[in-house]
Symmetry: C2
Subunit: 321 residues, 2 copies
């Protein structure tokens, strides 16, 4: 047996076992079944060493983050995750690395009852592609194109932390131990907002996950929905760690432009605003109202304490470090 057949052994059982997986890893295809009255949400994301993560990123984080990024896409659609496939390209066989990688992979899949149903292991530059699938009731998908003028704009969690964590890892930013621990962790082990995504699917209009940065991702919603937006940057949810590390002004810039936070950015009409808090209360995730959708197509306006604030040029930093 060749080394690259051996790699499959680290993932042989697929982790959590689901009843809707008829055939898992090991044949030409996996075979699964879908509950009646469910539709399928499908997403694919690739992470490449040196492009999407630093070359010395621990294996556990590489795997964890690849799963998180994909589950985050499902969450942004309001879907409940079910199955993932993994394609892993590795330059060499490294037992310790693979063990750590498999552990990182199964951390999130176990937590969310997701089964690894197949994939491919090949020799090549370090990169991985995950395809994730989940369920969603018909007509419940949260799209980018469903924002309406007057909708309130919300973001879950806090923004900018992952970007600051990356800068700390790259030596561009100094932080004390507590800040470093929090911010770097947000970069290496992002939390996909799965529970929040399903909780808001009958409440929110448009939704996207913040992968490229708030400005860039909000603009995706605006383009798809042919709307504009007014965002009050003094309302942006900022973590104590980020503000104490870089100061409030710089924290706002991180929150507007840095990617990889994997928070949900969504819009809710006036009528549903009241039940949003109730719906999210069971998920332990807080959502903050940061602005409002307007009628002017593609026009993004920012204000700080009601004074116009410049929209940062750099919208999203992916593929750029």
């Amino acid at each position: 047996m060749k080394e690259f057949d051996l790699i499959g052994r680290y993932f042989a059982d697929g982790g959590h076992q689901r009843k809707d997986v008829i055939i898992g890893i090991g044949d030409d295809c996996a075979v699964t079944s879908l509950a009646p009255n469910q539709q399928l949400a499908i997403t694919t994301d690739t992470l490449i060493s040196g492009v999407h993560f630093l070359e010395d990123t621990p294996a556990r984080s590489v795997a964890y983050k690849a799963v998180a990024v994909n589950l985050s896409d499902l969450a942004a659609m309001g879907a409940e995750p079910a199955w993932i496939s993994l394609s892993l390209s590795l330059p060499e066989f490294n037992d310790a690395w693979l063990e750590e990688f498999a552990a990182g992979l199964y951390e999130l899949t176990q937590y969310y009852s997701v089964q690894l149903i197949g994939g491919d292991t090949v020799k090549g530059p370090l990169s991985l592609t995950i395809t994730a699938q989940g369920f969603i009731p018909p007509n419940n998908a949260l799209t980018r194109s469903a924002a309406k003028p007057g909708d309130w704009i919300y973001a879950t969690g806090s923004l900018g932390d992952a970007g600051a964590g990356l800068d700390i890892l790259q030596g561009k930013l100094n932080a004390d131990f507590t800040q470093r621990d929090f911010l770097v962790n947000k970069h290496l082990f992002p939390s996909p907002r799965v529970a929040a995504g399903t909780a808001i699917r009958r409440i929110a209009n448009a939704c996207i996950d913040v992968s490229d940065g708030l400005v860039a991702d909000l603009q995706h919603i605006l383009r798809a929905s042919k709307c504009g937006a007014m965002v009050h940057v003094d309302k942006l949810p900022l973590s104590e760690a980020l503000v104490s590390c870089v100061g409030r002004e710089q924290a706002i810039q991180y929150a507007l432009t840095a990617g990889d936070d994997y928070e949900l950015l969504f819009t809710v009409n006036e009528e549903h605003k009241g039940i949003l808090e109730t719906s999210l209360s069971s998920t332990n995730v807080k959502a903050t109202c940061i602005g409002q959708i307007t009628g002017q197509a593609n026009k993004l306006e920012l204000k700080l304490n009601d004074v116009p604030f410049a929209v940062p040029e750099k919208g999203g930093y992916l593929h750029e470090f």
Copy 2:
């Protein structure tokens, strides 16, 4: 808009439009629906430049082959293809290359009414991962583990052509124009046996597609089914082009060990042997009986004109050129 956002435009409409695709390319996820009484077959395959295809392979072939390899996995399960996702990693933006690539991708998807429903385009070493999905009625999947002693072993089409085509491209093998045209074409543009796969799904027991080479892939069936096999190498389906190019003896070696043919290798019990030909007649694909499954676990025996024939050492050449 960044260059790598632009790439998505080459695939923006997803080609063939299917009614079961509710949301296609452009949101966080695709959303699809599954007909009642169907299960889902899912497969993922990655092709890396310099590992799975030569670095100077035309873009049209890179895309065509990546789709073919994935549809072949669906065919080997007996599934009817429906949707694919593409993750494409490219070192640079090249308009002509991308146009050719998109044309190659859509050739097979149009033919098989498959829709591209999403994916990812990233900057990195040239590689692509496709996840393909198809439908299969419950309990109809053709697995590797269902071979039974006494089953007849069949292969579709002809074997060894793609391997010879690769050797011609690499200058390891000489061929006249007609041979070269046929064999290189089999390497660059393999035909997934989609119609044959669905035609045999109530007839065959075990099935696999020949990607690693006949010996290697038959051994996958034997391991999974805990059986042995006797193959008559004088019965192997060989193309005229291959035999005239390398002679009969060498052609048998190609047929046994070279990969990338993407023919189906399957087993049929005595009772179903009669209806196999009728079932395949509408598909324009011929299947040849090359041997029989035996009761001795993992034991592969070869014979040439009823005389024992050595099992070649090299079982499959993937990751090795």
